[in-house]
Symmetry: C2
Subunit: 330 residues, 2 copies
Amino acid sequence: MAERLNVSPSTISRALQNHPSIGKKMTAEVHKLAKKLGYYPNSVASNLRRNKTNVIGVIIPRIDRYYQSSAISGIEEVASKAGYYVIIFQSNNSYEREKENARMLLASQADGIIACLALETNNYDHLAVFKENNIPLVFFDRVCYEIETHKVIIDDFGAAVKATEHLISIGCRRIAHIAGNQKMAIFRDRLRGYQETLKKNNIPLEEELICFTEDLSSEEGDAATQKFIEMQVPPDGIFCSNDPCAIGVIQKIKKAGLSVPNNIAVVGFGNTPTSLIIEPALTTIDDHAFEMGQAAARMVIRQIEESQENVDSETIIIQNDLIIRDSTLK
Amino acid sequence: MAERLNVSPSTISRALQNHPSIGKKMTAEVHKLAKKLGYYPNSVASNLRRNKTNVIGVIIPRIDRYYQSSAISGIEEVASKAGYYVIIFQSNNSYEREKENARMLLASQADGIIACLALETNNYDHLAVFKENNIPLVFFDRVCYEIETHKVIIDDFGAAVKATEHLISIGCRRIAHIAGNQKMAIFRDRLRGYQETLKKNNIPLEEELICFTEDLSSEEGDAATQKFIEMQVPPDGIFCSNDPCAIGVIQKIKKAGLSVPNNIAVVGFGNTPTSLIIEPALTTIDDHAFEMGQAAARMVIRQIEESQENVDSETIIIQNDLIIRDSTLK
DNA sequence: ATAATTTACGCAATCGTTTGTGTAAATTAT
DNA sequence: ATAATTTACACAAACGATTGCGTAAATTAT
């Protein structure tokens, strides 16, 4: 392009990347001209030649959920700082869409993939393809243990233990749990943390105090609470596997004329902005979504750049915090 | 690639796109083989040759805001259905980052751009570049009137009129307004809608009832409310230019021992999920963020695909609704 | 059976960079 | 002043698909 005004085809390329074998005056001149003409190398051609797109593909359930958009925000921050583009695909929790997303991502020659699994997904061939093609793949949050690859998670079990122990510490003895879809490991782990903690504290496990939901919506929280408060001996504490559900629970308890936390204390999971707005403010687990995104991005970029075959699948566990608010402050 | 197993270089290409000049059996065979080998054409090479990337670049302030992520969700939905990828850049409301984003997007040869301006931005050269390079550009929400291009907005003025008239209709006579950053047209329009409505209803405009904020945060809502309730005659209604600010306002009013809506009615803007959780539930304007994203994406894709020079800059105005809830139900 | 037409595919240039290799000119060493 | 080096750039072949054009083979028309 700019070669016409001076004389040289490949010299331009080298000058623009400050290659040592190009004279300083030449280099300077090229840079100046490029700026004047507003010239930027065509990255498509460059990608083709270098066999690298600087694209990180992200497959997630829904971008308009707080957890997800925070994680993406973290991904985008470190990616863009490192010169990578982020392409986002939403699976809407549909297996078919996730497969389609993976196909598009494969065709688009992304350098690396970050994925958070859809609820429906229980076959992982469409993602295993990336490993086969030697494309770095990092899971976060809703990971898949069937593929040996890098993962970023939080200690869901430990977080659930913390939450349940907190309820016990404030005097709750009849603690219910509203569990998420058991197809996902994160929700199984949270349930397990709840159960183990009760056992360790010699509190009998009662099946009727565990409510299994499809997607932990506010409505499901509402319905579960209905059943709980109709019991002869209602629970005095409820640990919900996410915040939206906990919000539904609190609203229902209040609507029934009961008090949170005096009659029933409530703990959520996720520390969404809503947890600060509900009254009483919700005690919850901060899962550090933004940091998880950052960690996943750093991980995938590292793999891209050290194309070493150090394929030891590594798992990063991000810290989580129990944030105590009024919903458990008697 | 696949040519080795049969015999042909370009025939593969044509067969894969079902070109009529290729025999049916040949075409079928190629498809079958491609599936078996898991072969997908290298889209980078294809992009280079066709001079098209199927990428839509999106520049927005922050993805982890509900309005933005909803809009992106809308964009992504129609884009992916039409075979486009969405690349997202966050400006963090910084002019410098927005410029950098635009530069990267230009280098990446995106087919079209959708942008929502950063707060800081008041020079638009970095975006005008797209027009100069004949790359379709669509603004949404925070648009820029200095560049003649396509836009998707809501009728902010009309929405503010609706909100203010609603406050008047429930009996408010001393109505305050918490205004957003006046560098943005949307916030100027909302202020104007408020002012005009008062005038039309013969309610005197009082400067002290208008509070200008930097970014309409909850904290600024809190601070503004403090001043309002300290007045000899406090307002009996407050119209806030967004929901987070309105939440801060409501929380402050309650903390002061006053009632919403009986002492002061409150109207927000945006219909974020939090507006349903605050007590009392917040009356607000639903700005249909998802539909705005969809409209913007359809618009940019239409421009990409009809590369006609019908450059009449068109403006789509998305409907908005006043949603009446308890914060104005006396 | 020959000519005219259609069908089905191969050739080769092209998209705009990058990069290994080659080579004049400029510099340094002897 | 000649030889040995270094410096600074040009040549040309990739990267992998797309596509206008050309041409054998197959079909149809006369």
